[in-house]
Symmetry: C2
Subunit: 135 residues, 2 copies
């Protein structure tokens, strides 16, 4: 199949497919005489795998690692588990950081209501006075 069909099949932009190839995530396919890329079902599987990983927010580097594990199937899979544990930890850190940020923002938002002039705006005042560390 050609790149456009593959793109529709996996719901990815053709540019993105070429990008993954360039990044070494998708093996370079054979070419027709005219230079068009020709993909197999293996490519489609691999591309779908990449996309599912991206939905899980895994970076291209992490996906690269997972693929190298896949390509050497008799290794112990503890590395896969460790990668996912790391990623879960990372996501949890992001969540707590954003939750504390949300608190700050809501408290700041409470310091002003509509109807004032900017000069008297409690929010701008709040940002200006707030120490860089305090919650």
């Amino acid at each position: 199949m050609r790149i456009g069909q593959l793109a529709r099949l996996v719901d990815v932009d053709t540019q993105t497919i070429r990008f993954y190839e360039q990044q070494g995530l998708l093996p370079p396919p054979d070419r027709q005489e005219n230079g068009y890329r020709v993909y197999t079902d293996k490519h489609a599987e691999r591309l779908a795998f990449i996309r599912r990983c991206r939905i899980l927010n895994l970076s291209l580097a992490e996906i690269h690692k997972l693929q190298s594990y896949q390509d050497d199937p008799h290794q112990p899979c503890s590395a896969v588990n460790a990668l996912l544990d790391d990623h879960i930890y990372h996501v949890r850190s992001q969540i707590t950081a954003l939750q504390s940020l949300e608190k700050q923002l809501v408290s700041l938002r409470g310091s002003c209501n509509d109807g004032r002039e900017v000069e008297a705006c409690g929010i701008l005042a709040g940002i200006s006075e707030r120490s860089t560390k305090a919650p």
Copy 2:
């Protein structure tokens, strides 16, 4: 004061200060005869304001807007409130997205324990089989 002193004072890299100037967030300071930038306390205040906004995860574009409000202090401050409301909404969306992601990751992680070979790894199998939409 020169750029290095300002950088230490506000705890920002000198490069970042020049970057903010280039982006129009920090007004271009006067120069000494040798071309060195000379900053005033006003600059330090403005830079600190920018940094506090960045800690609140506001984008440079949002900071730009806030500054334009500050520079025209007799406007109603409802725009400031709206900007912050938007930002809070954005942060909350990020949090819920990450929480659902965390759930998926934890469930995936539960599908494999150490001690297997990659070939039999429940995680890789899980990614490979998982539909792109299901939770």
